[in-house]
């Protein structure tokens, strides 16, 4: 609570506005752009002030031709300008931390994505964050977190939180408050309508496409579940909310709601049998929404049937709620959320047969060093997590080969999914992992030089710490269980407690501490002290 208050105060200082100023999230999707303006009350309760939506054709462009057409860009900008008017009414500046803009699959996949982002910035001054699947999963988790432990998220049954979007399907597997996995699949309601490139599926084709893809998704999900017979499906997104309103007209869109799979299927069949034009007429939908409705509803129903489920739950929560949660509580890089991420990294480490006890011990000591050197490195909680993950994963490359395993570690990490971590963060983890031994970061290293300056510095600092921590655990026996740290004028004195011989570690340090000395300007001295000394 204290931290939130501090954050609010900090935000107020930055924006010159009131700490109670509303927050806004704009989400640029494949078929629509939405804006949520909300305020958070003293109890942390979120109150929606405005929910706006404009149709866009970004997904149709990006998924068929690979680029966003000029007209679609300008339509999008027109819509954003309307949103800006609403922001002005709430006295929200576009560049204030109270406003966040994210774009998902359509923009991410467009070949002219940079041109799109530049054009949007020039026209609206809005900085758009293009988020990847992992970040979507993180936002989803953050949005849903307050509801975990409550129905339908029980510990007895795993919950599959599924959003079938225009460009793909995101699945978050949960067991009570624990994240089991997050997956992204290419089943997109708009994609199946329009195919890829020149391949336009016939009107009837998409039904079998959806059928095949849902079967494949179920096959991928099943092994990840503790018990594939004890599972609940929670549908998210505009299409799911539409189904909920149709099947229960009294639903106000607040609570999670349970709907019969049989009735859902009937509705899906009915809608799938009608042309988008008729849907627009009958349900007062926009055309892009009408296009995705049939495939999406059918996919949810088929997925539920794959698991033999009688019920489909719908949640009104959206990714925007998660973005909002991150804006109101940037402490997400600590606490429960980081535990989920670390758990996901450990699962990954196990998959590559890493000595997890060693890895966790390195992580523990790295965190201790990180905490002690806070004044020196000036990095925040997010980097502490990146260091931890790099420590856990630094040896995954050994699975490929013992030779230059740090290089293998780099690409294994860089190409893996870690729940809750975006590709940018994963890249940082991978680089810190890579630099845990041998060559130090150099401008001639392509990956390293492609980072932003502040990220390069952070990677160097974290790799330096990781090297020291790894040296301290050279024996892979976790024998340095406790240590004291002391900052001297030109050195860092590490005292290992309860040991009589530390020569291995001292040799390792001599080998591995040069980066540390260069980055922090401190020599590393390892001493020992017996308990009775």
């Amino acid at each position: 609570m204290v931290k939130e208050v501090e954050l609010h105060a900090a935000l107020a200082e930055e924006t010159g506005g009131s700490p109670d100023s509303p927050l806004a999230v704009i989400d640029i999707g494949a078929t629509s752009m939405r804006m949520l303006v909300a305020q958070v009350d003293k109890d942390g309760q979120v109150h929606e002030l405005e929910a706006l939506q404009q149709s866009v054709t970004l997904g149709k462009d990006a998924f068929t031709s690979g680029t966003i057409a000029h007209g679609s860009v300008e339509d999008c900008i027109g819509g954003l300008r309307d949103f800006l008017r609403i922001l002005e009414e709430y006295r929200l500046d576009v560049d204030s931390p109270h406003v966040r803009v994210v774009a998902t699959s359509a923009v991410r996949e467009a070949a002219n994505r940079q041109a799109f982002l530049d054009r949007v910035y020039i026209a609206t001054k809005l900085e758009v964050d293009v988020v990847d699947n992992a970040e979507v999963a993180r936002f989803t988790y953050l949005g849903i977190r307050p509801f975990l432990g409550k129905r339908p998220f029980s510990t007895q049954e795993a919950a599959l939180l599924v959003e079938i979007g225009g460009g793909g399907t995101e699945i978050l597997g949960l067991s009570g408050p624990t994240v089991l996995f997050s997956q992204a699949h290419s089943l997109g309601s708009l994609r199946v309508r329009h195919g890829q490139g020149d391949r336009q599926p016939a009107e009837t084709d998409w039904h079998s496409l959806v059928r095949n893809q849902t079967r494949r998704i179920a096959d991928t999900v099943r092994p990840e579940l503790p018990d594939a017979r004890r599972v609940r499906l929670v549908a998210m997104g505009g299409d799911a909310r539409f189904a909920a309103r149709q099947l229960d007209p009294d639903w106000l869109g607040r609570e999670n709601i349970r709907l019969s799979t049989r009735r859902w299927r009937a509705l899906a069949e009915e809608i799938a049998g009608v042309s988008p034009d008729e849907l627009v007429q009958h349900y007062h939908l926009t055309y892009p929404a009408a296009e995705t409705l049939g495939p999406a509803l059918l996919a949810y129903a088929l997925l539920a049937e794959q698991f033999g489920l009688k019920w489909i739950y719908v949640t009104a929560l959206t990714m925007r709620d998660g973005v909002l949660a991150e804006m109101t509580k940037p402490t997400v890089w600590e606490g429960e959320f980081t535990k989920q991420i670390i758990r996901s990294a450990i699962l990954l480490a196990r998959r590559y047969q890493v000595d997890v006890s060693h890895a966790e011990h390195v992580a523990k000591m790295a965190r201790k060093l990180f905490g002690f050197l806070r004044d020196e490195h000036g990095l925040g909680a997010k980097y502490e997590l990146i260091l931890t993950l790099a420590a856990i994963l630094h040896e995954v490359g050994m699975f490929i080969s013992n030779m230059s395993h740090h290089k293998h570690s780099y690409y294994v990490i860089a190409n893996s999914d870690i729940f809750g971590l975006g590709s940018r963060s994963i890249e940082l983890v991978a680089q810190v992992g890579r630099y845990h031994r041998r060559a130090e970061p150099k401008a001639s290293h392509d990956a390293y030089s492609s980072l932003r300056r502040d990220e390069r510095i952070a990677v160097s600092k974290l790799a330096a710490i990781l090297r020291v921590a790894d040296a301290l655990e050279r024996t892979h026996t976790q024998r340095i269980a406790r240590l004291d740290l002391e900052r001297r004028s030109d050195s860092l004195l590490i005292t290992a407690l309860g040991l009589t011989d530390i020569s291995y570690e001292q040799m390792a340090l001599a080998e591995k501490s040069s980066l540390f000395e260069r980055v922090f300007g401190l020599r590393v001295v390892l001493a020992r002290r017996n308990n009775h000394e």
Binding site: S18, D20, P22, L49, R85, E89, H284
Partner: protein
């Protein structure tokens, strides 16, 4: 209309409504000038009806269309029935004016003089008026022949002159001229002197001195006439687009301006009448000859003159509402509880104050409002202008399609724009009829949205004459819905799912039918079920069908429908549980109120929408639930009073006619009862709040129109 038809004909039902207004003009218990006002209203109502509805039907018959309307009539049959009914009505108007109202007014000192009544001084006075004013304005246009008749303005008063043949014309051909009498000329020319108010009609003066306009000629005949032109296609969906939807593209401008009604004085000779009919190309059934002056709508001006108090209704000034404390800011009071007002019994002032306070409140961030019809120099518009000038974000949706108000709307809307208000000129293809004003305010507890929803326009003048409901609330769900609604009409967002409100044309009709069906279902399950509703018009056949089904299931339905009602009530096996009552009285019934029994936990709504296809399908309208227990009780009480009224209330009969209700031992005149309810509540409210000074203020005179 065929016997077995499920629905009453829309046009004939409207004519029945006009008849009910005319009945007020005929009611001896109504003061004379009020009766004259009702008479004038029936006349101007008919003008509009002809231009739009008859015009629309004429276009259909012109194209040879034979499509049946829901009552089973072809356009031709409808036209024949309309003309037959209107001829009767015009005869009654004529009789009423000449035989009842003029003598009554004369007794009250308001006397119409004709040429034979005038004596020397008056004659001289009129001669002077003619030479100095009238004669300088009126310009006769010579008529070569019937085929080349000069263009006469729609609904303008004209005089047709027949001159004696030239002496040197061996064929003795009649010669004609037309004098337009419209423009800046006053219809009623007051005569000087005496204690009484004597007046002469403009046409009478022109007739007396007509020869002065034709030096050297002799006037054989001078006849007043007026034409009504077809506006069926010219107007928006308020008009006749339901009739003409299938004809889009077929019509061209040529068909618009055709003459569809010719009114003239009965004194016209056969020669003159035939000449005008040929020249203006009207059928014989379209000629309306009257002994009374033509264009009785003009009598509205006469009804407004200063006169003895006994000729008018006693004052019923709007009362301060006991629900509103004039010493406290509106926001503070709305934050405490929702407020419901019943105009014109309760003053409209709190609505104006709401906008005014918003305009000057430093914590207000934005004001958003839909303005459909408003008055000239509207204080609300002024407040919005000031709000924008003081840096608030003000968004106003101005409905430029509001019929006959278009020019006025554009004018003040442009001014608003210049003052920094974001003005949106309506929604494409739809008329925005919803009445909503939302104020976004920053408060210590966060952003709070305050709403006013109404059933009437933001017009402080009509708010004194129309019965309407206002609802103020700051309920969060209503705020979110209002934002979503206003963002949608402003084009900022596609319509989102609404929590509480229902919006036409995207779901209001469905919601209505769903509410009706829910009562039907409850009744089928043996529960008590009831629907009470009040509206101006009921014509949507889907809604009527739902009501028929409800009636057949045994749901008791009481409807208060002022105007058109296409539902046939009281037909065995179809609608015997439906009762329709119409009130036409001093104030124009205008509120839309809905109460569904809902198993004892009544669901109560106000709405801007009538149950007509145009409202439910081609207009942006709102259906607003009233949830505050106090407001609900009050609103149910208001509707009950309207439904229980016996005086000034007519029951609709299965054949579309109507009969006056017979008052029992305790006759109830709904409008009076409501006024009394408010004054009593105010008095008891005052007793409990003696610490507020309330000055006596003179009642401001109601202005015309």
């Amino acid at each position: 209309m065929t016997e077995e038809a499920l629905y009453l004909n829309r046009e004939l039902s409207w004519l029945e409504f006009n008849q009910r207004v005319l009945d007020e003009a005929a009611d001896p218990s109504v003061p004379a000038l009020e009766r004259l006002k009702f008479l004038a209203i029936t006349a101007s109502n008919l003008d509009e009806f002809f231009m739009v509805r008859v015009g629309g039907l004429r276009l259909l018959t012109g194209e040879g269309r034979t499509t049946l309307d829901p009552s089973g009539l072809t356009p031709k049959q409808q036209l024949a029935a309309i003309h037959q009914r209107v001829h009767q009505m015009v005869a009654e108007q004529e009789r009423l004016l000449l035989e009842e109202l003029e003598p009554l007014l004369a007794a009250g000192g308001i006397h119409r003089a004709v040429a034979g009544d005038l004596y020397g001084e008056q004659w001289q006075y009129l001669s002077q008026v003619f030479d100095e004013e009238i004669g300088r304005i009126v310009t006769p246009a010579a008529v070569q022949d019937a085929a080349r008749f000069p263009l006469v303005a729609n609904l303008g008063l004209h005089m047709a002159i027949r001159l004696r043949p030239r002496a040197d014309d061996p064929k003795k051909r009649a010669r004609y001229a037309v004098i337009p009498l419209g423009g800046s000329l006053q219809r009623f020319v007051a005569l000087p002197g005496e204690g009484t108010r004597r007046y002469v009609l403009l046409e009478e003066v022109v007739r007396i001195f007509a020869e002065r306009l034709f030096p050297g000629e002799r006037v054989a005949e001078a006849v007043v006439f007026r034409v009504t032109r077809n506006a069926g296609m010219n107007v928006d969906e308020d008009g006749a687009s339901d009739l003409l939807a299938e004809m889009e593209g077929v019509l061209d401008a040529r068909t618009f301006s055709e003459c569809i009604r010719l009114e003239m004085e009965t004194q016209a000779t056969k020669t003159m009448a035939e000449f005008l009919r040929r020249a203006l190309r009207v059928g014989s059934e379209e000629v309306y000859a009257t002994r009374a002056p033509v264009s009785l709508g003009d009598y509205m001006a006469l009804a407004g003159i200063e006169a003895d108090e006994s000729l008018r209704y006693a004052g019923m000034p709007p009362q301060a509402s006991p629900s509103v404390d004039s010493s406290l800011p509106m926001f503070q009071q709305i934050a405490k509880a929702d407020i419901l007002l019943c105009h014109p019994y309760e003053s409209f002032e709190p609505v104006e104050r709401f906008v005014r306070e918003a305009a000057s409140d430093p914590d207000v961030l934005a004001i958003k409002q839909v303005l459909y019809r408003t008055s000239r120099d509207s204080p609300i518009v002024e407040a919005l202008r000031q709000a924008a000038a003081s840096g608030k974000y003000v968004t106003v949706l101005v409905e430029v399609k509001a019929r006959f108000d278009e020019a006025r709307n554009i004018d003040w809307a442009r001014r608003l724009e210049m003052d920094g208000v974001q003005v949106i000129y309506g929604v494409k293809g739809l008329k925005t009829h919803a009445k909503i004003c939302m104020v976004v305010r920053r408060e210590p507890r966060g952003i709070v949205r305050y709403m006013h929803f109404g059933t009437g326009n933001y017009n402080e003048r009509t708010a004194k004459l129309y019965s309407d409901i206002s609802l103020f609330t700051c309920n969060e769900d209503f705020g979110a819905d209002s934002s979503a609604f206003l963002n949608a009409v402003a084009g900022y967002s596609t319509p989102q799912a609404f929590r509480r409100l229902a919006v036409s044309p995207i779901g209001l009709r469905e919601k209505l039918i769903e509410l009706i069906e829910a009562e039907t279902e409850r009744r089928r399950q043996g529960q008590k079920a009831r629907i009470d509703a009040k509206m101006n018009s009921l014509a949507d056949t889907d809604v009527i069908d739902a009501l028929y089904r409800a009636s057949q299931a045994g749901v008791k339905i009481r409807l208060n429908v002022r105007g058109i009602c296409c539902l046939r009530p009281g037909v065995k096996g179809l609608s015997e549980n439906i009762q329709v009552v119409s009130i036409v009285d001093r104030f124009l019934e205008h509120a839309r109120i809905l109460v569904f029994h809902h198993g004892g936990d009544a669901r109560v709504f106000i709405s801007s929408a009538d149950w007509m296809p145009r409202n439910l399908r081609r207009r942006v309208e709102l259906l607003v639930p009233v949830e505050d227990p106090g407001c609900r009780r009050k609103l149910i009480g208001i509707l009950d009073t309207c439904l229980q009224g016996t005086c000034k209330a007519r029951r609709l009969l299965p054949d579309g006619g109507h009969e006056r209700l017979v008052a029992g031992e305790k006759p109830v005149r709904a409008q009076w009862a409501l006024y009394e309810m408010v004054t009593k509540a105010l008095a008891s409210g005052r007793r409990s709040r003696r610490n507020v000074f309330e000055p006596h203020r003179p009642e401001r005179r109601q202005s015309k129109g």
